[in-house]
Each structure stands twice: as C-alpha cells, then as structure tokens.
C-alpha cells in the first residue's frame, strides 16, 4: 500500500517521502537539514528563538496541546545551574504511532529540533525518553546522534559557537504512565514512574530538581522549519490563531488505508477519514470515531464535520490529544470497545492515587459483567458514579482520561448497555458486583 500524492505541502513527512531518502545525515543535509541550527547558533539570542516559537503558535503534539514557546518561557530567567530538555518519545497513547515514524525515518529532523530547543532554553543535556519497545527506533537515534556529534552538530562546542549540547537516548521499560511528563522524570531518575504532585512544575523543579522542559517528538521536529521559514509562515498554516501548523494524524481501525497523514490542522474528520484514509474498509457504515487517542471521548457520525483543531474538537466534547484517530464500523459493540480501553487503563494505572487504582479495577469488573450479559441496570449508575469519583481526583490527568471512553459511550450508546443488561435480566443471569460485606 502506498501513499497517494499528498494534497498539501508536507513539512514533517516531506523528506522521508522522497524516493531513496534513508534518513542518514548526508540525506538530511542535502534536504536542507541543520540549516536552522546554523542560522541561530551564536547569531540569534536564545530569548529571540523562544519568541519565534511563541509567535509561531506551535502547540504541544503529545496530548495536552500546551504552547511550546510559553512552556519554555516558564524557566527561571537568571538561573545559572544545569537545565534539562527531555524529548518525550514514549508514544504510549493507544491509537498513536507517528513519533515512531519521525524517529525511525528522519531522526536528524528530531535531533535538530532538540538542539534548537536546548539552545533556546540554555540546556546542555537532553534525554530522549523513548518507550522500551522501540528498540529499532532507539538504535536509529543512537546512530544518528553519533553522526551528528562527529559532524559538530551535537557535543561540545557545537558548530564552533561555544555551546554544549549532549543528547542521550534513555529507554523506558513498558509503562504507559511514563508518557506523563512528571512520571517520565521519575522514570528517568531510575524510579517507579509515579506522577509528581504539581506544583512545582518541571520548569522550576524537573529532572534532578532542576529547571526542565519536556517536549514531544513531533513538537520538536517542527522547530527547524519554524526557524528556517519563519514563525509567520508557520502561523498561517492550519486554523490560526489557536491551532497552527500541520498535524500528523494516525488513523487506525476500520478504514481502507490506515496510517500516518500529515494535514493542516482544521481539516474535518470526514476529510481525514474519507479522503486521506480511503474511507470505510467495507460496506458497513461508520459508527464511532475516537479523535485523539484512547483518552479522548468518542465521536458519532454526527461529528464527521467537526474540524480537527484543538478548539473545535474540545467544543464538540472531546480532545485532539495525541492525534490518534480510531475509526469503528457499524457492528462494533461500544460496550466492548469501552471495556477494551478500560482494560488498558486498569493495566496501566500506576497505583499512586486510590480513586484511579481502585476505580479502574471496579470499572473493568462492572463493564466485563455487562459485556458477559451478567449485568444489572444499577450497574449503569455505578459506572457513572465511579467515573465522577475518579475524574479530577487524581494527581495526574490519567483519571480524566480513563473515564472518557465510558462516559462518552454511555452518552451516545446507552441503549447498547441497556440491551446487554436486559438480556442478562431476562436470562436471570445478573450478578452482584461487590461481595456481600461491602454492600450497604
């Protein structure tokens, strides 16, 4: 399966789509690589680089969508000690697989972004925290780092400008939560990946208690282009002023052509699914869409014309998140889908906060009973009640994330839950969830 001719001028995937492009340093340089770093190092003040990124409107591509330049601006101004950049390459949000492609196919684009960010925030050390399963990605990055170091783009005295930028690859070891920025820091410090209570924010007390910026792979990969072509150019793409630039959407599920598609922010769900991803894989019509990774609320076919930008998706009751768009066809049980996602969240709950640790287990049990046609009508109240007692009551955003699939499927497909339960009641197979002693 191959890519149809793109409708838009691509930015991040442009190089790798050139025939014969291998992602080597020579290939990257031929495509204009490291020119952005040359342009700024020792010539443009770090604060000005930050101002450019702020002006471009670039927002985080990892999930939260926080403006990158403003995040950098939170670092203490006159701090003299070490600062750190962490590249979040954990890519753990189900439905998301873009960072893997960016790292494995054009690693120097990511490294140049890292070097630019390091220069802007005054960090001499960057760690790429990559999910442990990406063994190939880690190897490719390490090779690229060695190439860049030998060519003077990384290491001591980068490009003769007297700046040090050391980059290390640090592999995680299988934990979704380590994509959460403070859990990532804990993990990088050699501990269990438990999110920290904020404040203090990483900008003031991050890695080893030092000022730290954590940016996603795709966010960083945009930086060379913003520097080379200017913030105004970047800010004119997509849905200005709040959602600027291109976005790599990862389309999965029941479409003809799943995969990564780089498009301007603000195209509609319909355009992405039917134009780019080729539409539904069979004659079964579309039933549900998850627009931004497993943590995002489900959409229905009525949302097909929602624009895929931060504001529009939020207004429609979900979130753009990590860019993972999952499409489901008619015939897919929404209760089953919610259960599959909930099993994921239950497995990945780090255990720090009781509402999430205990609640996720309880939610899985309740959903499983309903799916197995052993539920009771009261279970729907239990589900809602549990969700309301998890969301907003945990240290990190995981609590809000895990309830989104359940609450949104309950909202749009409550009849499917009820149908399964009615079958259970008719069969006399309804079960009590809690052991007798725990009931009132």
């Amino acid at each position: 399966m191959t890519m149809a001719k793109p409708k838009y001028e691509l930015i991040l995937l442009k190089n790798m789509l050139q025939p014969g492009y291998t992602g080597s340093l020579a290939d990257y340089e031929r495509a204009g690589g490291y020119q952005a770093l040359r342009k700024i190092l020792g010539k443009v003040a770090p604060a000005e680089v930050t101002a450019m990124v702020t002006k471009s409107g670039l927002r985080g591509r990892g999930g939260a969508g926080f403006p990158a330049g403003i995040k950098w601006g939170f670092l203490p101004k006159d701090y003299q000690g070490p600062k750190y950049l962490c590249c979040n390459a954990d890519e753990s949000e189900p439905g998301t697989f873009k960072d893997r492609q960016l790292m494995e196919r054009d690693p120097h684009q990511v490294l140049e972004g890292i070097a630019i960010a390091c220069y802007a925030i005054g960090a001499e050390t960057a760690y790429i925290y990559i999910r442990g399963e990406f063994v190939l990605g880690a190897k490719i990055l390490e090779k690229a780092i060695a190439e860049a170091r030998a060519a003077g783009y990384l290491g001591k005295n980068v490009l003769g400008a007297g700046v040090t930028i050391d980059v290390w690859v640090h592999r995680g070891a299988g934990a979704y939560i380590c994509g959460e920025e403070t859990a990532l820091l804990e993990s990088l410090e050699g501990k269990r990946g438990l999110p920290r209570v904020k404040p203090p924010f990483p900008a003031t007390a991050g890695l080893y208690g030092k000022p730290t910026v954590i940016n996603n792979v795709e966010t960083l990969a945009n930086l060379p282009h913003i520097i080379t072509r200017g913030p105004e150019w970047f800010a004119s793409i997509g849905s200005p002023p709040k959602s600027t630039g291109m976005r790599i959407f990862c389309v999965s599920g029941h479409v003809k052509r799943p995969g990564n598609y780089e498009v301007p922010m603000g195209i509609t769900c319909r355009d992405l699914i039917f134009e780019h991803a080729g539409g539904m894989r069979s004659d079964k019509p579309l039933k549900a869409i998850i627009p931004g990774g497993a943590s995002a609320s489900f959409f229905t076919p009525e949302h097909l014309d929602v624009k895929l930008d931060f504001e529009s998706v939020a207004q429609a009751g979900s979130m753009l998140g990590s860019g993972g768009v999952t499409v489901m066809e008619e015939g897919t049980s929404m209760v089953w889908a919610a259960l599959r996602l909930m099993e994921f969240f239950h497995h990945e709950s780090c255990g720090k906060c009781s509402p999430c640790r205990e609640g996720s287990s309880w939610l899985v049990q309740t959903l499983r009973r309903i799916v197995n046609k052993r539920g009771r009508m009261q279970d729907l109240e239990t589900l809602t009640d549990l969700c309301q007692n998890i969301a907003g009551r945990t240290v990190c955003a995981f609590g809000d994330a895990e309830v989104a699939p359940i609450l949104s499927t309950l909202k749009y497909w409550r009849h499917e839950y009820e149908e399964l339960i009615r079958t259970a009641e008719a069969n006399g197979s309804s079960e009590l969830l809690m052991p007798a002693a725990a009931r009132h």
Partner: protein, 174 residues
C-alpha cells in the same frame, strides 16, 4: 559478574547521568540481556554499583512490564490486545498462536523456545494486528505470515518478516 564482563559499557552508561540511579533501567536491560531475565543476584549487584539498596532496585523492576523476573523462552512473543488491534483481529491472531504453540498466554512451550504474552498497546495501531518478538515488531499479521515467522525463528533464529524503519502508508519509490 556484570561488573567484570561489562565494565566499559557500565562506565559509559554511568557517564550519561549526573546521578547514578538514573542508570538503573539501562543496567537492568544489561542484566536481562545477559540472563534472559533479571535475577536476584543481578539486582543486588546493580544496587551496589548504583549505591542504592536492593529493595530500591526491586521496587523499580516490578513497575515495568518489560523487565522479566522469571525466565522466558528464547523467543518472547507479545501480542497487542488493545482496542485498535482488537478492531482488526488481534483476538483471532492470539487464538491462532495459542493453537500453533499449544500454550495459553503467560506460558512457555516445553522446548523452551516460545513464551506467549498478551500485552497492551505497542504503538503500531495502523498496522495491526501485530506482535513483538524479542526486539522486533511484526505487523499486518495474517495466519500465513505467523506460520512463516514461527518456522523462520525455529529454523534460523530470525525472520525476514520483521519490520524495518517504520512508514505507513509506504512511499512510492521511483
């Protein structure tokens, strides 16, 4: 043991971090590469290298699913069972592997060759169903492909069907 065999590698790992404990995951990977799983002796040795206590090592090991506290087969097959893969047939894939290997997830074949596990999302949602075997990804799987992979691994210890640098959809060269 690790210290003698991998002295240069350990020193290089330690040099990346201002605080020693950060080297914990890299050293655990080294230990796992050596023995196939993380042994108690390795945990104690790593604790002494990093100047932390063995329980501090153990509490970290138990948090991460990729670190094995028990031996696994020569080939550790991990099938993604999360929603995106399940939508395109991961349950069928898992069933096929169970039949072919004659084991349920969580078990190892009698000859010690294959351990079967079902795991959560491995970030290959556009190319499911998929599995990871040791360091390699295998994507867009079918029953025929799985059979070939198992035969390749048994015969050669490796399979040409493993994924290379990822791009999907693929580009048109030429």
């Amino acid at each position: 043991m690790l210290r003698e065999k991998y002295k240069a590698e350990i020193d290089e790992i330690l040099s990346r971090y201002p605080l020693r404990r950060s080297a914990l995951l890299p050293l655990l990977y080294l230990a796992q590469k050596e023995e196939g799983y993380v042994t108690e002796a390795a945990m104690k040795e790593i604790a002494s290298i990093l100047k932390i206590t063995p329980p501090q090592v153990y509490e970290t090991v138990t948090f991460y699913t990729m670190l094995n506290l028990r031996p696994v087969g020569k080939f550790h097959i991990q099938v993604c069972k999360s929603l995106m893969c399940a939508l395109v047939g991961s349950d069928t894939l898992l069933g096929w592997l169970e039949v072919r290997l004659g084991i349920k997830p969580g078990n190892t074949t009698k000859d010690g060759l294959f351990t079967l596990s079902k795991v959560e999302c491995l970030a290959a949602c556009g190319t499911g169903p998929m599995m990871q075997i040791n360091d390699d990804y295998y994507e867009r799987l079918t029953e025929e492909k799985v059979d070939r992979i198992l035969a390749d691994l048994k015969r050669d210890g490796t399979s040409s069907l493993k994924s290379g640098p990822f791009m999907w959809p693929e580009r048109t060269d030429g």
